[in-house]
Symmetry: C2
């Protein structure tokens, strides 16, 4: 990763190949660790800028959707390379705008370029197009059987709403953008206002890639502004045909409603809210050979690991464990003690921006004021940090949890609630009370498997990912991952926003009946020039 480039930030919206500035009330990024304002000044897009971006995107769609699989894949790889090219500058800026330590940013940058390259390989492999050929039979009676071929086509331009908590991996060139571009859809990104400089840097890298591949300028635009204005304008623009969003439940629900109220509704893929319940079963609390003089070493390790997961990214990961159901057993007290000690020993850290820090403070205060729950640990308050996130731990009982729906409201940040459960038999009732989740975690050993089987059976109905003997933070980008789940985890439970299947969100199937060979796309031609897997008369074939 080199940074020989001079990268200058201008504060402009990137509307295709044109920089558009000074069109609204200006704003600046703030360093959440110091409170210092960061240059340059950005201005939100106005209606004309949104209209221009949508118009260019629609125009680009006519060309970009016909780009060959190879052209699209190479374009995604160039975006990855252009981002690496500005790596050092980018990492500094992300750190300044978000407070995320440089080492984590480095990892996120690698994930971001890795995602882009994974989608390049997905595009080349070709299964995403879902090619199916049903052979004609002109001699069939009473009616001849037609020639039918099916493929997926892109929906049209996609509006992507950047997340604050992944300023690279779920922002301007993040998973939504990569998967939409892979699908053949131009992208208009609505940048998150907390990291405008990061957004501009990455936006310029994408623009360079667009130019290097001679793609239409409208293939990508970047807009600044609020969700209520620029966001709603994008979602209701008739040329925008799908939306990718990662953020709060409130914003996700508002965008989904706006999209549903259009004369022609469009899908919103919103990843919103999850408290990621964890279930600790008795066997897991005594999993390891106990050492002389050290009872419950397994339980203590679990307690520490829990807090390590809870405080990762200052608790600002969508999969942060916000709720632990701890079944009473030898070791349960040791688990709580170790977790309590770990919280007390942890340090406050800057949260992403002031809004998220104050929401977290409010959420924690709400819990602290709730008689159904006890605050058992709080980290040092880190007074020197501008947007301080102070880790905190609460304990309650299963009965109190069942009585109080507020205890499962998401508190986004480094706080969690331990629910003491008298016996494993009460767990199913607790699961049935939970809302939809991105993840659900079970800690269990073989002695717990009978109970665990029933848990899996229920958890797979409420979560997108069920995991054992680990922690939900850390989302593996691959083919089998699901980052999704029932409402309110997402607005579209049949999809995933991470992993190779994310591309499916921006596609729809079209059938071609008796269409002349020369008018068919290559993926549907009889001789399979792309050499991709296809379903021929119901059977998967590579020829």
């Amino acid at each position: 990763m080199t940074s020989t480039h001079t990268v200058e930030l201008t504060g402009a919206n990137l509307i295709g190949s044109v920089d558009v500035k000074d069109c609204g009330t200006p704003f600046q990024a703030t360093n959440p660790a110091t409170g210092a304002q960061l240059e340059p000044v950005y201005s939100p897009a106005d209606d004309a800028a949104v209209d221009r971006a949508a118009s260019l995107a629609w125009e680009a769609f006519g060309t970009y959707r016909h780009a060959s699989f190879e052209e699209r894949a190479a374009f995604l790889e160039t975006i990855a390379a252009e981002i690496e090219e500005i790596g050092a500058v980018l990492i500094d800026r992300v750190n300044a705008e978000t407070g995320i330590p440089a080492a984590r940013v480095q990892g996120e940058l690698a994930r971001t370029t890795g995602q882009l390259r994974m989608f390049a390989s997905v595009v080349r492999e070709g299964s995403w197009t879902g090619a199916r050929l049903d052979t004609a039979n002109p001699d069939r009676t009473p009616l001849p059987k037609p020639d039918l071929r099916q493929r997926q086509v892109p929906l049209g331009p996609v509006a992507v709403f950047s997340a604050s908590n992944f300023p690279l991996a779920f922002s301007v060139a993040g998973g939504d953008t990569a998967s939409a571009l892979a699908a053949g859809a131009p992208v208009i990104v609505k940048a998150h206002s907390a990291h405008p400089g990061t957004s501009e840097l990455v936006g310029r890298a994408i623009r360079t890639a667009v130019q290097k591949h001679d793609l239409p300028e409208g293939t990508f635009s970047l807009l600044f502004g609020s969700g209520q204005t620029v966001g709603i304008a994008l979602v209701t623009d008739p040329r925008v045909r799908a939306v990718g969003f990662t953020g709060s439940r409130q914003a996700g629900v508002a965008l989904t409603a706006a999209a549903a109220a259009r004369p022609v509704p469009i899908p919103v893929y919103a990843e919103m809210s999850s408290i990621n319940p964890v279930f600790v079963l008795p066997g897991a609390l005594s999993d390891r050979a106990e050492q002389p003089g050290r009872d419950f070493i397994a339980a203590e390790q679990l307690g520490r690991d829990f807090i390590a997961s809870m405080t990762t990214g200052t608790g600002q990961l969508c999969t942060s464990p916000g709720l632990v159901f701890l079944v009473d057993a030898p070791g349960a007290d040791a688990f709580i003690r170790a977790a309590t000690d770990a919280v007390a020993a942890s340090a406050a850290a800057p949260m992403l921006y002031s809004g998220i820090a104050s929401s977290f403070a409010d959420g924690v205060a709400r819990l602290a004021a709730n008689d159904n729950i006890e605050s058992v640990a709080r980290a040092d308050n880190g007074a020197a940090i501008a947007c301080s996130g102070v880790p905190q731990l609460f304990v309650t009982t299963a009965d109190q949890f069942l009585d109080d729906q507020h205890l499962q409201e998401e508190v986004f940040g480094p706080a969690s609630v331990i629910v003491r459960v008298k016996e494993v038999g009460q767990v199913p009732e607790l699961i049935d009370r939970l809302e939809g989740q991105l993840t659900a975690t079970v800690h269990a050993t073989e002695s717990d498997h009978e109970a665990a089987r029933e848990l899996v059976d229920r958890l797979e109905l409420i979560a997108g990912r069920v995991l054992f003997n680990g922690w939900p933070t850390g989302v593996e980008v691959g083919h089998a991952i699901v980052h999704g789940g029932p409402f309110p985890a997402t607005s579209a439970p049949s999809t995933t926003s991470v992993g190779s299947r994310a591309v499916e969100r921006f596609l729809r199937p079209v059938a071609y009946q008796n269409v002349p060979e020369e008018l068919l796309a290559p993926e549907l031609r009889t001789d399979n020039p792309l050499g991709i897997w296809r379903r021929i008369d119901g059977t998967l074939k590579l020829s």
Copy 2:
């Protein structure tokens, strides 16, 4: 097909294994050809019946979703066999309740049992489960790579709204029911009030199959009643998790809104409204060697074929061609003349029920009163038929069509509008004015291919199926078919309600991370005991 069974109709809602009668204002079916009322009396389900059906369905879900692929497939095949067992009685009743001629009903019955058997084969083949395995790598740095496996699980109980126009193939045991049962979802059918006896006969066949396979009674229930009451009660019941619907735009939009307004929204797969535009290009009008003394034999044949398609099923097919764009060329007048003659020579036929007949009459009257369009042909009015549908043909010009959005409002029944287009260059502008469609048809020969290529390019953006040199009526049930399309054709353009992919509507993906082998479903076990295609580390494999 035999009918040795005595089949008695009781007028009951089938709530699991219990018959529920006399719970609301009674109604009877009417023979649309004669106006005669048909026995027995049916009564709509009341709130308690809906609640009971939902409760049983949720309970059944816990068992039925774990039925093996083989058990599910055999169950679907038993339903098909049970329907065939009552074939003769069923055909008579369908004919009496809908006016559909027995020969067509026979064909629809074969399609219905064929669909059930196709979904049985789809379930056995196993690709629908979307199994993906990403191999663990404990040695990866900085973090070990987890074991991740993904499969599709059913959403939960599905409410199916029967269509009036396919009293078998899209009714009680139709495509929505078959695909939901294939997915592992219990089904509650809201019967269409126009064919209650047909619904009860088929409902009892399904109940028998449920019993023969020892499945929980709640696997299937059948309710009578209106969409506004029973329908909304079903769609808003928290235990119902998805909706399949075929019917009017108004009803589909209302159900979609009700589902979106739930505390936990659910998907509605509504197939609603389509006028199925047809584009006749110049070459197609002179496609065949002209015979001496018979100019424009191709154009005339096309005109007759058009009316044959328009009047199929008395115009009550979702894919009926309601709009023909006829490009001016030698043969265009001959096409219109032949179509006009065919309409004049055609006969009125009974429509499905009085409501649909009066809607059609209103729609035709609206067109007749519109100054932008000319009525050129009308069939004999068939005064002796109770719910008469009288074929009618209108002609307008491209300029008038562009001026008047009302000309593309669906008129469900045997009526169609020919739009005369001066030159092929005007067609793209016309396409851009169209709403979403189930189908779009092009009539073209090789000489038209340059123009046709641009048409396909635009039509695939607005239609679920693009077809050449045929007519859109007749939907092939297979693997490559798409019966779907952008709004208002459907509420879910990324899906199809016909063909093997219909099962996907009722599934969502779940990832399993480091879950012990013994707690995994068979489709995800390392040794692939089901022998199905799976994606292993991104590559499709059968082992």
